[in-house]
């Protein structure tokens, strides 16, 4: 029986028959449908996924006319950064990195970010960031956002002013832990707005929230309120709302936005809140399971994202980095898997961008 080369969720090459691939696609799809209480993919969509995975060429591509804008996070850290940010360590200025993306790689948008890549540490170096944004805007043509992670964890001891909720919860001090998260969220909203007021004064096109919810529902609460304030103050600002994971972790558990409890939201439930707050583009995430095959992960990811695209009133740019969107979880995701996942998200999930 013919076997086809594909990947495990950790990137290792494996071989499966067409029947085994279809079974894994169906099981991944069923997992998403069950968790999110969302519809299965159709038989035709599953057949198309099988065709994409079993295509014999190393790389695949979307049908002509179906191309979508590809947005970028992590800024130029992938050029000059270290391994921790999957950087390739080429000494270069951020302007050079930006222009390489625009003029050498064909990027549709770009973002400026700093090496620490969280909003809080931008405060002491804000003038440097403003100056760099001004120089980049003078030289660049593609939309250029300012990007970083909300990373609410930086507001807890020993890095920040609030007691660590993890320590408090271990001592069963639940109320105190919730209060620490509420205080941190207020500071995070304030800091993001303060930073973006200055970046907008330096010509930024807008903001990219990279990995909202990494520190739980408080992280999302703070980000949505920052989005709301920024939209009110800057009606024309471009706002990209990118998530950290598929499920909003309820570390606080009772935080709400627009009457909706944030804990436990799946991508299709997060999208309407991002739009309501004032985002222009939503970046849904589905995590990769390294112990399952590429087929299982892709079936699951496409099922979740298709529903998020359907539920959203704004463009959806699915997160397709290492370990998300069906892509294997490793530092150098294999081109065969990346291009297959990319095509599947555009042609089956119907994303507006990547």
């Amino acid at each position: 029986m013919t076997e086809y080369a594909l990947r495990m969720g950790d990137g290792q090459r494996i071989f499966m028959t067409k029947e085994q691939i279809l079974t894994d696609l169906q099981e991944g799809m069923a997992d998403a449908a069950d968790l999110g209480t969302i519809p299965d993919l159709s038989g035709d969509e599953l057949d198309k996924l099988v065709d994409i995975i079993t295509t014999s060429s190393r790389m695949v591509g979307v049908e002509p006319g179906m191309e979508v804008p590809v947005t970028h996070d992590i800024s130029t850290i992938r050029i000059d950064g270290d391994q921790g940010n999957s950087g390739v360590g080429i000494p270069s200025s951020r302007l050079v990195g930006m222009m390489m993306h625009e003029r050498a790689f064909g990027a549709d948008t770009m973002e400026l970010g700093h090496i620490d890549y969280s909003y809080k540490p931008v405060k002491p170096i804000i003038s440097q960031e403003q100056q760099t944004m001004e120089v980049c805007q003078q030289n660049m043509i593609v939309p250029l956002l300012y990007g970083a992670m909300p990373n609410m964890g930086l507001y807890y001891t020993p890095d920040g002013p609030f007691p660590n909720p993890g320590d408090l919860m271990k001592s069963f001090k639940i109320k105190e832990a919730q209060e620490a998260m509420e205080g941190a969220a207020e500071h995070l909203t304030r800091d993001i707005v303060w930073i973006m007021q200055r970046m907008m004064a330096s010509g930024a096109d807008g903001i990219n929230f990279d990995t909202i919810g990494a520190a739980g529902d408080g992280d999302m609460f703070a980000s949505l309120h920052a989005i709301e304030q920024l939209r009110k103050e800057f009606p024309d600002i471009y706002i990209e709302t990118g998530m950290a994971g598929e499920l909003m972790l309820g570390l606080h558990g009772e935080m709400e936005y627009d009457g909706t409890v944030l804990a436990g939201l799946w991508p299709h439930e997060q999208a309407p809140l991002a739009a309501k707050a004032g985002s222009n583009v939503f970046g849904p995430v589905v995590n990769t399971n390294t112990s399952k095959s590429f087929a299982w992960n892709l079936g699951r990811a496409v099922t979740f994202i298709k529903e998020a695209v359907k539920a959203s009133t704004i463009p959806c740019h699915v997160n397709m980095g290492m370990g998300v969107g069906g892509i294997p979880m490793l530092e150098t995701p294999t081109i065969d898997a990346v291009s297959r996942a990319s095509k599947a998200m555009v042609e089956i999930a119907g994303v507006d961008g990547i």
Partner: protein, 105 residues
């Protein structure tokens, strides 16, 4: 680096090599979904939606309209100058252009 480039090659609109930046601007400035954004930009450019990712069509058209080109051509609009032409073409305001205008006498 291989991952973002793989996405661009598989699904991307090639940025200023074609018309990817213009479609992205409409998604971001007006929250247009991909179909609406492509329709809007193609009508403004007078081309088909398929042409928006066609380097053969867009290379000459971008230079003719002063929208910025991927190769380094002396004298053609770049940076802020190209973005000011994009503002006019797409009927939008771009923040950096507004800042630039506010700073000149």
């Amino acid at each position: 680096m291989g991952m973002p480039i793989s996405h661009i090659m598989t699904s991307g609109m090639s940025g200023i090599r074609a018309a990817g930046d213009l479609v992205a601007r409409m998604e971001f400035s007006k929250s247009m979904r991909i179909g609406e954004a492509k329709d809007y930009v193609s009508k403004k450019l007078g081309v088909s939606t398929m042409d928006l990712s066609d380097e053969y069509v867009m290379r000459e058209l971008r230079e003719e309209l002063g929208l910025g080109v991927i190769t380094s051509v002396a004298g053609v609009p770049k940076g802020i100058a190209a973005k000011m032409n994009i503002e006019k073409l797409l009927d939008i305001k771009i923040n950096s252009c507004e800042m630039f205008r506010n700073k000149i006498a």
